[in-house]
């Protein structure tokens, strides 16, 4: 991942940042996004997500 990819992701999120702001954020962003990406490198098989939904109306 590099700053170009980060800029593209922000654009996809419809966030308009000045080029210098993207540049400033890039190193932290790349480190964070790379760290988070580790969860998608795990063999997850049929493991469901831990997400909560309660269909009850009570």
């Amino acid at each position: 991942m590099d700053s170009t990819v980060f800029a593209a992701l922000l654009q996809s999120a419809q966030l308009t940042l000045a080029p210098e702001q993207i540049e400033e954020l890039s190193s932290v962003a790349i480190a964070t996004l790379s760290s988070v990406r580790k969860v998608s490198e795990v063999e997850l098989g049929e493991t469901p997500p831990q997400s909560a939904f309660n269909a009850s109306w009570e």
């Binding site: 992701l9 966030l15 969860v39 469901p48 831990q50």
Partner: protein, 487 residues
């Protein structure tokens, strides 16, 4: 002894027997607040007039024969994330500068029902998104941070202003300031206490709970805060026990898990030594120590931030576009980066969380409680809140403080931070006791046993004319040596 110096149990008993009025206690707390607040800046808003009015009303009610229980007439500080009707609730952010709730959050409403007096709103790291609370200082050394994000509550309780501070904990934000400010902090099981009316950082990781001067006080507060609330989608409809029941029963036969990994890496040596001393103390009281390996240790930080950041960014999506200039740079950057996390990574973080929960459940077949340091570093320099490790690596304050908290947030398991000692420089240290889901009573029992065996819990920082404080490095080294731990 001034009224503000009393523990909750002592103050309650005096109020119940009418030796002390809520008004006297509240005035004493306000005097203490005025003495230390210029140095610690724990409060975002002090509601002095309404506090005195609430205290007077509590006194009249008690005089008329209606005593509501151990929280009646007790002054508390409420983290500025919790809605409080008619009291500014800013999340310590310019973004919410004008936010004036019309109703109380569920937790505040429950505590009002129990009779508390709200002294004011305590500072949070902006929107709870950080672990240093830059607005506030640590009462044990005002050149250092109080931890966070519930740093105002930690500072207020540690300085002896309030007997109780409310906190929220998404990545350690109750346990971190508790450890760094020398108080007890209880993160209950996910779903145990309602978060309705509390600004969210991350819906699937947020917890609410108390910071208090001792373990029993936390149990008393949880008795009032716990219970089902349909307005909070995480709230769990199950019976609420009396958390003070059995709290004096000790740890004989309890199996205490001692981690061999994760909680042993990049931790201040004095904190490691104090944690080892706590283990030895528990063993000396009849507990069995069991060495364990923390599962998925290499994925804790990735999973925690992989969930927390996109949820926070979703919460702030409109405001970050409308008024980005009103956020502090640190929090604005985190929210912006969170927008770039892919939905698939977020969902996979939730799936890894499932694996972690299963592995921790298996782990608890051999232990009843896990003992670990609450945070990896002592109170950090407020001007430059970073830790520098032996090999020269520098770690940012929020990372240093939240790293060891993650497992209990991801698994939802209850965790109690209890003071474990003071460093040679006089700064507080804490250990956390992590229990099975909904077994808060077990960690409270273990915490109470540790508290009884030491002289470090319940101390008020020596600030604003208060003269007692830490037992001192010499006394602490003596205690560690007595426990067979070399430092």
């Amino acid at each position: 002894m001034e009224p503000y110096e009393l523990s909750l149990a002592q103050a309650s008993e005096r109020i119940r027997t009418k030796e002390l009025s809520p008004l006297e206690l509240t005035r004493s707390a306000l005097d203490r607040l005025h003495a230390v607040e210029p140095e610690i800046k724990a409060f975002a808003f002090v509601s002095e007039e309404s506090a005195l009015s609430e205290a007077a009303a509590a006194g009249e009610e008690i005089a008329a024969g209606t005593y509501r229980g151990p929280l009646h007439g007790i002054p508390i500080g409420v983290k500025d994330l919790y809605d409080t009707a008619g009291v500014p609730t800013t999340s310590s952010s310019a973004v919410r500068a004008d936010h004036m709730p019309t109703t109380d959050s569920a937790a505040v409403a429950r505590l009002y029902d129990a009779g508390v007096v709200v002294l004011g709103k305590t500072h949070t790291h902006e929107f709870a998104f950080g672990a240093t609370t830059p607005t506030t200082r640590n009462p044990w050394d005002t050149s250092t941070v109080p931890g966070g994000s519930s740093g105002g509550s930690g500072a207020a309780v540690g300085a002896g202003v309030t007997l109780i501070g409310l906190g929220s904990d998404t990545g350690g934000s109750i346990r971190i300031p508790a450890a760094v400010c020398g108080t007890v902090g209880l993160k209950p099981t996910y779903g145990r206490a309602s978060r309705a009316g509390v600004a969210s950082l991350s819906w699937s990781l947020d917890h609410v709970g108390p910071l208090t001067r001792n373990v029993t006080d936390s149990a008393v507060v949880l008795n009032a805060m716990a219970g089902y609330d349909r307005r909070d989608p995480a709230s769990v409809d199950r019976p609420v026990p009396d958390f003070t029941a059995g709290i004096e029963d000790g740890v004989r036969g309890m199996r205490i898990g001692i981690p061999r990994n994760f909680y042993t890496v990049d931790v201040d040596p004095e904190i490691t030594a104090a944690t080892a001393a706590s283990a030895v103390l528990l063993e000396s009281m009849g507990a069995e120590l069991v060495e364990i390996d923390i599962p998925y240790a290499d994925l804790v930080v990735s999973t925690l931030w992989g969930i927390m950041m996109p949820e926070a960014s979703a919460y702030h999506r409109d405001a970050i576009r409308a008024t980005p200039e009103l956020y502090t740079e640190e929090v604005r950057d985190l929210i912006l980066v969170g927008e770039a996390i892919l939905a698939t990574d977020y969902i996979n973080a939730l799936r890894v969380r499932t694996l972690m929960q299963r592995a921790w459940r298996d782990l608890y077949e051999s232990v009843d409680v896990v003992l670990a340091p609450s945070v990896a570093a002592l109170a950090l320099d407020a001007e430059d809140p970073v830790a520098t490790w032996e090999d020269g690596r520098v770690e940012a304050g929020t990372s240093v403080y939240s790293r060891l908290s993650g497992p209990a947030n991801l698994t939802g398991m209850p965790s109690l931070s209890v003071p474990s000692g003071f460093s040679r420089s006089g700064l507080p240290m804490g250990v956390q006791l992590i229990g099975r889901p909904f077994e808060e009573a077990v960690i409270l029992r273990a915490g109470r046993a540790l508290e009884r065996a030491t002289d470090v819990v319940g101390r008020i920082a020596p600030l604003g004319g208060h003269t007692t404080g830490a037992p001192g490095a010499v006394a602490d080294r003596t205690r560690l040596a007595a426990a067979g731990v070399a430092i």
